[in-house]
Amino acid sequence: MKTKELKSFAVRPLSRIAVLALVSVSLVACQSSSSSSSSAPAMPSSSSSSSQSSSSSPPSSSSSSSSSQSSGQNQSAGSPIPSLPSSQSGASGSQSQSAASQTAAGQQSGQQSRDGASPSPQGAQQGGQVAGTTAGSTAAGTQGNDPGQGSGSQARLPGQGSQAGSNGRDGATGDLGGGTDQSSGGGLDRSGGDYSLDTLPDSVFGGGSSADGADGQANAGTGTGTGDGGTQAAGAMTAAERAEVLDERLRRGYETFDGFILGERERAQAESNAAGSSTIGGAPGGGGGSSSSAQPQTIPESGASPSAVLASTQPQSSSARPTETFPPPEDIPSGRDDDVVARQLREAAMSEPDPELREALWQEYRNYTGLGEDQ
């Protein structure tokens, strides 16, 4: 018994040590996984872009830029580029490219004239296209790096990092799914637009901030390192790099804003033109009121106004109406002897695009004209 008790006493410390070791290992694993999961929502860019899109309801121009970005990503995912060198060098290269393109975009937008002339929509679209190409190259780069590092843990998989980035990015466009569950689930939810540097861990910074691809590369870089590499690489991000990431966010905000404002201006100018044409058509005709002296002024313009108004409204009304007509069924006669109601039913049935409704109208026509009873 004593020996058994001794053995049991000897085994307990061992089991405790084993349990402690397990706990520590699991803690370490939890840390690494938590860092990866936090890198997924880390896309501050996606969060901000999604919040911007929701708040400012981006118009067609901005959505076109985002769609171009997503298309760039899709292309790269469809045809991975295998020729990318090491992930870190690839990352740095593409970062510089994106920075160059961003500065180009910034210059385009910054070259507005002093009189407030808006930048051309083409410029904004070009900016979006550039961003899209950089995003595409980034995703391809991370995928290319992925096979070589396949033995790493899930958290260290650069592919996941890039997918998380693309997920966060595509949360704004709504085009791509396909990320890992962790990243896609947490990324969009946590990235709900509450942006602040304090809320972003350093590791997140590299992955999250560059929706155009720099993020994926940063994560790819972490994937090549050891388990602690994620935090080390992100922590090593210099102030200049952080400023660049923030600049990138600023510039993407410009793009969204430009698209929104341009869309709004187009709408406002169209309304202004419409108001101008209607004003010209209906020029001061109301002057023909009580004062006899005012009447002579208004005669020519009031005489001209009805025709002008008609001229401006007739095409609209004619274009608004559906011109398509559908032939009557075979059992319907020519309708030469139809009365007013029957004629209206016939016209309504012939112009009804919905077949079910059309048939119902024809049936009503038959009932009204007595065709159904005859048959």
Binding site: S48, A275, G289, A294
Partner: protein, 401 residues
């Protein structure tokens, strides 16, 4: 007997004098001087470099409802005045822009965006015949240039279609404001001051977005005037970013200009009609009121004179003359009441005209304000994000994180 004759003669003279006075009062008309001369926009004779062109922001005018006289209260429609407070500043901004004496001239949706020169206005009177606006001008330094009241009485000629096609009936008032503004700039501002004003407005905008960085570049004296304490480097990246944002702020303001342009175009037709009709009614009303007042005065004088003659008259003729004077005075007073009743009809006509225009323009004013507020809110939301990012960039560059 001779004394009686003298008294009678004196009394007769008095009666005659009162009668003549009453006739003069009735005949006396108030003359309104109307100018038909057109004051053109003066353009700066010197070719001003772009760096010395000041940007002008025209604020939405104060409708001046609080300053409406009791007499005009009944004939002034508040909603119409509110509509005018958005119409008139747009025309002023357009006039200033066409003068080519300034940089960009915009009707400002709010006072958030600093401009080099600000123009505030209050509509004191607007009835189709007369327009009176009080204008205050200041610059981004916080210095007030001047406050002046512009008053213009136009003739029916201004509403003729040929004239109306060319310009607003009260275009002269906007031209005068523009010319005064130019004159002040030419006489009071040096190029160095213009540069200072432009720099301060840029720093104010930069301070709005990045107060951490740009607060130290400006100081304020006791009178609230801004002075530049130091300048950021031209290559300062934060300044470049702020300039990028400012370009977008101009885009936003330009978009609002399109809103206002639409509004002005939509309002022009009913507003012109209202003004033309209001012009006639206002003149009629004023003349009837004046005529009624004159008749009251003359009638009262005739009654008093007649009573005096009738009571103190020494003979039958004097008493009879006094009685006739009283009767004539009573008739004048009665006709004064008639005129007042007629004036009341014109007042009601003016009220109806105002209500008619109100029905036309009030929804447009509401729509304009609604769209402007919505767009401003959206833009401000974006600006708030940019402010945060700029603050983070600054913290990052300073190494504060």
């Amino acid at each position: 007997m001779s004394t009686l004759r003298q008294l009678t003669t004196q009394q007769l003279k008095r009666i005659a004098g009162i009668g003549v006075l009453a006739c003069m009062l009735v005949a006396c008309n108030t003359h309104t001087v109307k100018t038909t001369t057109y004051t053109p926009i003066v353009q700066d004779s010197q070719d001003v470099p772009e760096d010395y062109l000041l940007d002008v922001g025209v604020a939405i005018f104060d409708p001046g409802i609080d300053e409406i006289d009791e007499r005009d209260e009944e004939t002034t429609n508040h909603e119409v005045r509110v509509a005018e407070s958005r119409y008139a500043p747009f025309l002023l901004a357009d006039t200033l822009q066409r003068s080519a004496n300034w940089g960009i001239v915009r009707l400002m949706p709010n006072d958030e965006s600093p401009m080099d020169v600000y123009i505030d206005g209050t509509i004191l009177q607007s009835d189709g015949e007369t327009m009176q606006i009080r204008v205050s001008v200041s610059d981004s330094r916080g210095r007030e240039w001047y406050t002046r009241v512009y008053d213009e009485v136009i003739s029916q000629f201004s509403y003729e279609p040929s004239q109306r096609q060319q310009a607003d009936p009260f275009q002269v008032i906007y031209n005068k404001i523009s010319n005064d503004l130019l004159e002040y700039r030419q006489n009071n501002l040096s190029n160095r001051e213009i540069t200072e004003i432009r720099t301060i407005s840029e720093l104010l905008f930069a301070r709005r977005f990045s107060p951490d960085v740009f607060d130290s570049y400006l100081s304020t004296d006791r009178q609230g005037h801004y002075t530049i304490t130091s300048l950021p480097a031209e290559s300062d990246p934060i300044l470049q970013r702020v300039r990028d944002i400012r370009e977008r702020d101009f885009m936003f303001i330009d978009t609002v200009q399109d809103y206002y342009a639409t509004y002005v175009r939509q309002m022009r037709l009913p507003y012109d009609t209202w003004r033309a009709l209001s012009y006639d009614e206002t003149i009629e009303l004023r003349e009837l009121r004046a005529s009624a007042n004159r008749r009251f005065v003359a009638g009262a004088a005739a009654v008093l004179g007649g009573l005096a003659a009738a009571t103190s008259g020494g003979n039958y003729a004097t008493q009879a003359g006094g009685a006739v004077g009283v009767g004539a005075g009573a008739y004048l007073i009665k006709s004064g009441f008639d005129k007042r009743a007629e004036a009341q009809m014109h007042m009601e006509a003016l009220e109806e005209l105002g209500e008619s225009l109100e029905n036309e323009v009030a929804p447009r004013v509401f729509s304009l304000d609604d769209r402007t507020i919505t767009l401003t809110g959206t833009v401000e939301e974006q600006y708030a994000q940019w402010k945060e990012i700029l603050a983070d960039i600054y913290s990052t560059e300073v190494g504060d994180i």
